[in-house]
Symmetry: none
Subunit: 218 residues, 4 copies
Amino acid sequence: MSTNQTFTQLKRRDQLVACAIDATFELGFQRSSVAEIARRAGVSKGVVTYHFPAKEELIRAVVADVLTSMVEFLEPRMRAAQPRLFPERYLAAYLTAWVEYLRTHPRPVIALVRLYNSVRDEAGEPAPAVRAMLDARATDVALLTEVLALGQARRTLGAFSAPVVAATVKAALDDLMLQFAADPGLDLEAYGRALVALFERATATPEAFPAQPHEEET
Amino acid sequence: MSTNQTFTQLKRRDQLVACAIDATFELGFQRSSVAEIARRAGVSKGVVTYHFPAKEELIRAVVADVLTSMVEFLEPRMRAAQPRLFPERYLAAYLTAWVEYLRTHPRPVIALVRLYNSVRDEAGEPAPAVRAMLDARATDVALLTEVLALGQARRTLGAFSAPVVAATVKAALDDLMLQFAADPGLDLEAYGRALVALFERATATPEAFPAQPHEEET
Amino acid sequence: MSTNQTFTQLKRRDQLVACAIDATFELGFQRSSVAEIARRAGVSKGVVTYHFPAKEELIRAVVADVLTSMVEFLEPRMRAAQPRLFPERYLAAYLTAWVEYLRTHPRPVIALVRLYNSVRDEAGEPAPAVRAMLDARATDVALLTEVLALGQARRTLGAFSAPVVAATVKAALDDLMLQFAADPGLDLEAYGRALVALFERATATPEAFPAQPHEEET
Amino acid sequence: MSTNQTFTQLKRRDQLVACAIDATFELGFQRSSVAEIARRAGVSKGVVTYHFPAKEELIRAVVADVLTSMVEFLEPRMRAAQPRLFPERYLAAYLTAWVEYLRTHPRPVIALVRLYNSVRDEAGEPAPAVRAMLDARATDVALLTEVLALGQARRTLGAFSAPVVAATVKAALDDLMLQFAADPGLDLEAYGRALVALFERATATPEAFPAQPHEEET
DNA sequence: TATGAATGAGAGTTCATTCAT
DNA sequence: TATGAATGAACTCTCATTCAT
């Protein structure tokens, strides 16, 4: 009953979370039943209940697990881009980092996008278990919006609606993730470069443009 | 789908499809059970089964219904844009038409996006019932890609990856639809203008740019 | 139940029994799961299983524990009433003692009544674990019956069915216990006096009656 | 397929309610699972869910069914006793009617007592499904209390606590019901007469007593 | 056509119990 | 002694589907 979980408990919990992620990646969130997750872990259904009294908690753990992994990977890269100093470079760094993360960690990231899509299917209040995911997304978009606005204020970025661009960037990445899930042969790096080019053009200052050669097309 | 259905049959079918759309709009696809749809139509569950031997058929009918409505609304507008003559104007027309469609027909369009999201949650081969929707989307994106490429060939559009831009346009619209579903107070026209500006900048020729004043921001 | 248990064993057992009593008092018997009891004891579920190989054993221990406490409290008082000498005074002593016991030990006594009610919900052969409780009750009622019959034989008590009166006394006390559990603000002493008056009138000899003034009402 | 052809003529709902009553009578409330009830009805578990979306509603129906039967049987008898005119006769009529009802309808009445006992096992707010039962009981006791008080006001009944007597009457009947459930050979009429005698003595005016012969003992 | 009834699989959850350490 | 872990049966409930009328 202590709050310090044993090693075994942590291992099993982690395993179940991993199985839940795999199931969501491979089957989708709706089909990732407790029974399916238990089956993948090679244990009985009761084990899942033992470690996660309610499925909500398992989902919460999945969300937390993936978010942690995301932050670990992405935050250093985002910070290295020095958004306060060079807001005009942030978008490229952001897109590149996310694409790289998708390339190296497809399972968790695609699992989370599937979960996000499922949540979006439902109208009304989202389940508390996915609150953290929605908050993280909202924060992420808000930060991107802020940096874009900073660039505009400094005249290193052009005229555009920062919130719309930020939302579109996120939507483009979500879409890319599911394209990649459906077709693992997709050339992620090329796609990433194309997205960078797209949004750089969309957000650049007018002066910046003539310098762009016409041959960069993918 | 046979052409020799009686009038009553058609009326009932249409009613059930309409109720399915409403339910999906209001509750999401997952929660739109046969019982819920029958309840909304004020008929017994058996009626649904009678007209649609399997739920798949109902979904297929929903998809067909909404797609027909979409084509009816959008196609004249797309044709009026004369993509073969003015490919560089197509994107704006496309976005404007879709946003206008969303504004005037939120229920069917959001219902279809919810369905699309649910389908995207599931991995593997999609259900045959949603094939038409996926095909229509693919065709839509392919046509957009094609027109963009045509503009590039004529040097009335700049350098960018046409497929990536097309996919991103679609993703941005999907995202907008669900934003609008969650917040009906959203200013669709402003958002639409911002999207047009975003993608026009992203796809314009370099020469086109200096003409854009800095104050057009939304 | 063996006599060569260690001190620790006894202490742990007693603690678990106490927690089981508390849980039954507060939540009812059905909701007093092994997990709940372990939680209250601050130990793991396995501990309960270790000390009580089956839940039946725990219930048996609870029954034994409460019965012991009851006997300890009630028996001296019953004996002090000298039923063989003054059978006509026994009923008042019996009721007063029980009400006093309820007042001073509500948790165990109400726990046992809850358990009794649960047992009464089930038809058929009662579980062996509650045998002792049922036996004790039967003995208790039998003794009361016997004393009442003795009073009747001596013409110090009137004409009535001794078994029926005894059963009704017990039923009235059970009911009082659950009334008190539901409303701890109940005036137990007044209620007890009313019960004494009720059953004294019901069992008195005819001659005893005219002496009772009309104003004694509670 | 049910072997109980008597029920096949009834509506399925009524049959399920009857099976629920039988199960509660024979096994107790806790053991009367949906599966058990379905088994008794010779149908699949889903049938119960079809007719009673939640088990609560089945319980509610059981309660309503038994209460209706009780009122139908008891009310005319209670009214015939003319409590406003002869409050001193009401108690005997009340007890006699209840005992007669128990004798002629043991299954539903014992089922309800089992349910009542189960409810009493649980602390805290009772489930809404049993509200009607608890209300009916409370009303019943309140009416009895009122009539007893009326008799006291008219000096046709003696000095006693009317609420305590009323509660004790009810408790004695509940107890009798479960005694009878455990031992169907019990002589209900004798027991009923003994209860009438008990409570008549407990509530009589002092003057009424010398007339009572000493030989009425059961 | 239309319906109510019935089905059976599968969902999440609870729980007493067993077992290895 | 003590524990966390695991089990498996039973529970209520949901749902698409089938079927007789």
